[in-house]
Symmetry: C3
Subunit: 138 residues, 3 copies
């Protein structure tokens, strides 16, 4: 069994954003040389996500509106967590969107359906944060 | 390390439905001959889900009502994604229900608690769609 | 490839609670002797969760309030599932929080960001329930 590990770093200028990281994950897979196995790709921070969906800007603005409806940022005082922090909503939003994805590797490629793309979802940005890519297989 | 891959195909007559796929995943596991390892089972489309819950029809109608409350289908015009499409709600519903499950394999069997069953959740049906079953182990 | 399996048992005095199980999962990892691989940690019951977030009591009370808003327990009669049961809300809450986490193992340790902790989320407690820890790797 082979294993591979890499951290991807992000600093987003906005509090919230979605970044397509499929190309970076494919680079990791090539670097690993692994042909058959599994990739785990997870946010290392608890106010961000890694998820799979469509790379379509209308959908991304729908996600932003929808997450603000389900877990509004403001007023900050509505959350007990927001004593010294103001990011309770980011913990909730990331819970909806998910921490991680696991993707099959087949013949050295991400084994994806036609529209699957991997995104980093940032909900409390403006600082350095990380995604872990871990690959195991052969 | 051994690996195994299979696609399961579904075409549901309704826009939304839940299909118990536990038996089909068990067939894959038997075919693979793998005794110890992990199964990844994921929707290959971004408007459907694979999830684990109870095979109880009352619960499934609760899920349907609840998802319609959290991410209503109509009016279609409420979503930016719905220019040429009408399925933005399906992307949101699938986000709640999840893209994938990872299940342990122990002694050649799905290592499940008493009521765990695997479901395909369709939120934009009436056309051919796929689930990926990938197994790694020994 | 090595594999390891353990069940963790919980009986919570309250219907709902969050328990930090990071230490117990680390003990499993040490016992396994595995240095590189993946850990799957999942609820074996369909009314509880395993998830990763912050060990902060204010946040946990925010989660409790938020889940009650998105999937209220009462009135029990609002759910079709609640014929002989009263736990439909627990199935929905666990869906939001997730069934499982997959964590990378690097150099014999959980490969975590600075604040990641693993929690058992109970939504229908007061009886014995189980979490599965399955580790594969080398």
């Amino acid at each position: 069994m082979k294993s591979y590990r890499k951290e991807l770093w992000f600093e987003t200028p906005a509090r919230r954003s979605f970044i397509n990281i499929t190309g970076q994950v494919e680079n990791c897979l090539r670097e690993s040389g692994i042909q058959e196995g599994l990739i785990l790709c997870n946010a290392m921070h608890i106010t961000s996500s890694v998820f799979i969906n469509d790379d379509e800007s209308g959908l991304h603005s729908d996600f932003e509106k929808w997450l603000e409806k389900l877990a509004p940022e403001k007023p900050h005082s509505q959350y007990s967590h927001n004593g010294y922090e103001d990011n309770a909503d980011a913990h909730l939003k990331r819970t909806i969107m998910g921490r991680e994805v696991v993707v099959a590797i087949t013949n050295g490629r991400l084994d994806f359906g036609p529209w699957e793309q991997i995104f980093y979802g940032e909900f409390d940005g403006k600082r350095d944060k990380r995604v872990l890519v871990k690959i195991i297989g052969e």
